[in-house]
Symmetry: C2
């Protein structure tokens, strides 16, 4: 939870002179968001999220992220729509940082989803994959298996202080991923971080998906693997098979998964658990002094990883 | 900047069942606010601020704070209006904490006020003093001179590490206040914290005053002294006499200050500077591990205090 950069009334007004949004009504810093500074902005024209990109986001990736939201919203996908200024630019500079404004999406995170919520999440994920077709910019997944050895190395010495046995779990799983990662399954643009807090519902209906700052080109089924990790474990970290079956069924209602994708699903679920385990262990071990953010507990993902290691095949996840 | 208590969708919905605000549309934690957790809440009925009172606010004071906002808004003063549930209660419980909802006020803090902004702030302060008449609950100012010796004692050993000479400045000023504090000047309900971030403007017009959590019964002229400290020093901590004259003129346009109030003004300005110096030094020296808030620099108020020590009389502040 953080506002890393304070935006004053006069700075904001100068920035907004390039836009057709009428008078500023209010600006409130939003708590939450590890990567960036987010404000809720009210103007006479409506409600917006104003984001200042802090150094953790690579500036060269911003045309991908902002362009993707533009492409998706133009295709009718429910996500924030970037706002262009009169010169046609959706990316600007504010307080020395790259900045963008997007439309504000109403909706609430569902803390304890039902299978119906999971069906909607899976269906919307498939729609995202389809809607992104034709988007011209590509972005490699920086956190795919080729990025994990460096994270595993950084986590190695401190991992057992987080949880006894964690260093070996990571080393063994890294080797498994390298030996078993699929190569020839359908790919395209994926969200790669479709956790519950990035999916909004209004009155039991999915109203939108936010936070495209991990989106990239990768296997579609890897997005599903992230989704299984995110939506299908309860507060006690027990796997919820009905939720997983609903997520897969929702996805399948829009796009039929190929046999090779289903075959790879347990490996992809293991990899997704490892990916979040690795970033969480490193964040946990490297909380900077004066940090404004409390890191997530890595153990939530070592538990998931151990579950996936026990999965025989995709039927564990409810694949029909 | 902090959200100390996370409110989930299901907890919020259960809380709002007692209100007539329609369906929840969104809930965003607001960065900022040292004392409490604040959310911006959108429902079908409108926009609200939902506040959960954390332990730094005394629960027995909440009927005063919430009742005052209710009284003031009913009197037409521009401040957040508490929202009552169907049982008529404006104070409830959420996540084990006392909680209240108030109407959302549009408006922006003015970072660099002009004398016109100061006139409006002074005028609105006088309106607040008048509008509070008839409010039945009283609250002693916990941070008046009787509360300062304890704070000065707590700050004593660390003060010079903040700024050389600060311990003596505090000790001497505390004695001065005790010897010179006025006794028989007009009093009533004051805001006691009318800093720039608590006063909103829309298009150069003052749109509202927020944050009544230091409000109390004390001298009206002490509120002005807080205002002079808050609005009449520039970024370099230089006193701005035109701003101060405008603040006093704005106040005077609603209520004529008595001779005894003007006579006491330099002493009250010194006291107000000491009050914020004391709390800031203690906050500075006692940042808890894992704090979510960066403390304000105490030196901004030692500089103000030294200026006020040099003030000959109220004409320094532009009193006519």
């Amino acid at each position: 939870m953080a506002v890393y950069t304070e935006v004053s009334d006069e700075t904001l007004e100068a920035f907004l002179e390039a836009y057709d949004l009428g008078q500023v009504l209010s600006l409130k810093g939003i708590a939450g968001g590890v990567e960036n500074t987010n404000y809720m902005l009210h103007t006479q024209a409506g409600s917006y999220i104003l984001t200042l990109y802090e150094k953790r986001v690579a500036e060269e990736d911003l045309p991908f992220f902002v362009g993707l939201m533009d492409h998706l919203s133009n295709a009718g996908f429910p996500c924030p729509a970037p706002i262009r200024n009169r010169a046609g630019d959706a990316l600007g500079k504010l307080c020395g940082r790259p900045a963008a404004m997007v439309s504000f999406l109403e909706g609430m995170e569902v803390k304890h989803p039902t299978p119906d919520h999971c069906f909607a999440a899976g269906q919307t994920m498939a729609k995202l994959h389809a809607s992104a077709k034709g988007f011209q910019i590509t972005r490699k997944n920086a956190l795919d298996p080729s990025g994990w050895p460096e994270l595993a190395q950084a986590a190695q010495s401190g991992a057992d202080s987080v949880e006894p046995g964690l260093a070996k779990l990571i080393t063994d799983e890294l080797k498994f991923s390298q030996d078993n990662w699929p190569t020839k399954i359908p790919e395209g643009v994926i969200h790669a971080d479709m956790f519950k807090d990035n999916v909004f519902f209004l009155n039991e209906t999915l109203s939108g998906v936010i936070d495209f700052y991990f989106a990239c080109n990768d296997f579609f089924a890897y997005d599903l693997a992230v989704g299984i990790n995110a939506w299908c474990f309860d507060d006690d970290l027990s796997f919820m098979p009905e939720h997983s079956a609903a997520l897969l069924a929702g996805y399948g209602s829009e796009r039929v998964l190929e046999a090779q994708e289903l075959k790879a699903l347990p490996t992809l679920c293991r990899g997704a658990a490892l990916r979040f385990l690795l970033t969480r262990v490193n964040d946990w071990l490297n909380v900077p002094p004066g940090a404004l953010v409390v890191p997530h507990d890595p153990k939530a993902f070592s538990a998931r990883l151990r579950f996936h290691q026990s999965a025989a095949d995709a039927t564990t996840y409810g694949a029909a």
